[in-house]
Symmetry: C2
């Protein structure tokens, strides 16, 4: 992590770091599959028309073009294309927009409600800052229905993510839940009709503080000081149970949409409070910048690392995907895997027990033993023990050093007894202990079989 | 597979198809790790300077640019860039060139010989044809040394790939091995100095036949009819053991480089013949188009699907990566995962036993049982059994249909006995068999636990 990326914003991990990332991805996948989510991948490129459909112009998009075509344009042999041509190709900047397209295209082949997970790289041409990569991996789950989708899924997906994050060596986290209808209904109830504008200002609350947001609300949305104060009073409400409902009612605002949002959020928070106590709160300051959310919205902070921003965000979208009159409402959450792994590595929250999968390094006493040593390794691998074979009969000290540099715990020796018969011994190079072993039945302790990724000691 | 890609050359799988691809990737990863290869990923983008360093101009490269910049250029507010600017970004078209850069950049942090696997998407802006995707996944293994690398690794990597491919439900395959030194030494020995030109012509042998290649050799490389005949006689040699050596000698050509190549190839083929009988042959027609190979080269055909082209190719490269005077010779092989999976799916060589991970669908008798049903599912998941819970107490027929459409084998029912106590039953919806079960200890048969991907019946 002290290494500098050779291209700013494009991070690459060393093998031991990649093991931490792989552990995160494997753990997430395992949890998602235990909950019945099917894995899919979508292509890395979308048309600009698709990507910008929901007005996501604030995302810095990477366009893609065939080099041969660019050269023909530069040479005057081809007409330049409009850079904003909706048919132009660009790299996806999240997995939700591509998933919505996938659902619409494949609706006839999918069973709804469709539960899917998707773990892929995405790209944004942003200015790189700490925690802002230009290439990063997201891990998403979504449930999408055909026509309608039970509100129970709003709690379900958050519970799955709570379980997934809880299985990672990252310590405490808190899922903060709000509801767009609640917020929009409240704003309308106090006479602010530009609800998107209010949300944009409220979204800046943690960054700039309440006074600045009050000023923004008055200057940019035309709120009165009283309206600004009420919007801020709403955003100040945060409870771990459904008591937020009373606190909202105490503000004395009424609106049909507000009622709907209160009911929905109370249902979600009650379920989370019961099934994942301490993992979630109702937090009415959560806005989520994205236009396509229509109900529940989520953000997640890593406790003690709040300035990192949200590590797992999402929401309910009732109209992101549609095909003629047919709509596919969905709800989902997305983990920023790269952001999380960068933090895990830079803070040494988790470490891999070695840098290679190998558990046993089979040493060579004589060069011509190589094939027999491969037989030993093959016997070990048959029982799931990763093994490598030396390629030449160097001094044992050098062969042990090969294992030591990689953190390989065991070195296997093939010798001869006084009668000239083959004898096998295995050495734990950490303790120096060495004893006779049979390649057909020796096994290492379970914790040495594969590289372990664990929370580092505090 | 009958679906048409919405962007030509960019394939996306349905969930059941993705399970086949995932099975391929999991199997490869497992084999690579058992052999001590460490997984890494490199960024999707490289600079054009890196990508085109080895003269790979025949690959159609996708350039990447920030849309915002393109728009400024179009509006005349920014100078257009040279499309061939070596600092320009582009998507990688293979994993070998990026890996070479990674090794050079991180040499101080890696232990050599460095064994790594890498499974990622790559992109080529080619005209899509059957089997030629514009976005596809490659699975590579390479071993790279610091200064020198034992020739034993040339056999080692081929054996690992033979084991990996042998673990896939794809039937027979054959790794065809040749050696650049052997071929180049032979061509020089018969007086043909433009060895790259000869290789380019020989590379077309399977496509256009020997007569056309003879014509090409004479027209494009300036060979005499006798020289062309000798080059073709070499390419005609194919043996499963080291007897190719005698057959080459019988052609009466001598050259120092030829001798070196014969020795190297004989060593590799002898090892493969002994340790993976029937999986590999010496095939002196194998040329490999890429410039960077310097010794052993490999291609692999799927028996009965030869027209698909090579599914696993690679070779030894002694000079791809260097840093000042320090060189990092390597040898590796790359599986064309997408090409292979497309064939597996289109020929129905393998099928997934269901389209979702879920083994048990917990039905609801009453809406208010949802949380208790989640407790049942949680108990199952604790034992590694993927489970989903219904969100509403629809008619049992509809709930069973939900499971049936997805291929979920078991439906769990929560009822009450006459005394009002909770009773659990589980139904195998394939046989209709239903019996009492305890959520704390019931387990499905091993073959129903997770989706199975198996070779389809012939």
């Amino acid at each position: 992590m002290s290494r500098k990326a050779s291209l700013s914003g494009f991070h690459e991990w060393l093998p031991a770091e990649r093991l931490v990332e792989q552990h995160v991805l494997d753990t997430l996948r395992r949890t998602f599959e235990l909950h019945g989510f099917a894995g899919i991948e979508t292509r890395a490129v979308e048309t600009l028309g698709q990507l910008l459909r929901k007005g996501e112009v604030d995302k810095e998009v990477y366009a893609v073009s065939r080099l041969a075509e660019d050269e023909e344009v530069a040479a005057g042999r081809r007409e330049p294309k409009d850079p904003a041509d909706p048919k132009r190709l660009a790299l996806h900047f999240d997995l939700t927009v591509p998933f919505a397209r996938y659902v619409v295209e494949n609706a006839g082949h999918l069973a709804f409600p469709f539960r899917r997970y998707q773990m892929q790289k995405v790209w944004r041409g942003e200015r790189p800052q700490e925690g802002r990569a230009r290439e990063f991996t997201q891990a998403d789950i979504d449930v999408v229905g055909d026509g309608a989708l039970s509100p129970r899924y709003d709690a379900d997906v958050a519970l799955v993510m709570a379980e997934a994050l809880g299985a990672l060596p990252i310590g405490d986290f808190l899922i903060r839940v709000n509801n767009r209808k609640l917020a929009e209904g409240f704003y309308r109830g106090i006479g602010l009709e530009d609800t998107a504008g209010v949300l944009r200002s409220i979204d800046k609350l943690e960054k700039v503080g309440p006074e600045e947001v009050a000023r923004l609300l008055q200057e940019e949305v035309g709120a009165s000081p009283e309206q600004a104060a009420q919007a801020l009073a709403l955003a100040d409400i945060r409870t771990s149970d459904t008591s937020f409902v009373e606190r909202v009612r105490a503000l004395g605002v009424t609106h049909e949409l507000l009622e709907e949002g209160l009911t929905e959020l109370a249902d979600v928070v009650a379920t989370l409070h019961r099934r994942a106590p301490g993992r979630a709160v109702a937090d009415l300051s959560i806005a989520r910048g994205l236009d396509y959310y229509t109900g529940t919205v989520y953000e997640t902070v890593l406790v003690g690392h709040e300035q990192l921003g949200s590590i797992c965000s999402g929401g309910r979208y009732d109209a992101l995907a549609s095909k003629g009159n047919r709509v596919f409402p969905g709800v989902g959450l997305s983990i920023g895997v790269t952001r999380l792994v960068m933090r895990m590595l830079s803070q040494q929250m988790a470490v891999a027990s070695r840098s290679v999968p190998t558990a046993v390094y089979v040493a060579l006493t004589a060069d011509e033993d190589w094939s027999e040593a491969q037989d030993v390794a093959a016997l070990l691998r048959e029982r799931g023990i990763p093994a490598e074979v030396a390629v030449s009969a160097e001094k044992f000290g050098r062969q042990i050093k090969y294992a030591d540099r990689r953190g390989i715990p065991f070195v296997w020796f093939m010798g001869r007894d006084d009668a000239g018969a083959r004898v096998h011994e295995v050495k734990d190079i950490r303790s120096g202990e060495q004893h006779a072993a049979d390649p057909a039945d020796w096994t290492p302790p379970a914790e040495d079989l594969l590289p372990q990724v664990a929370r580092a000691q505090d």
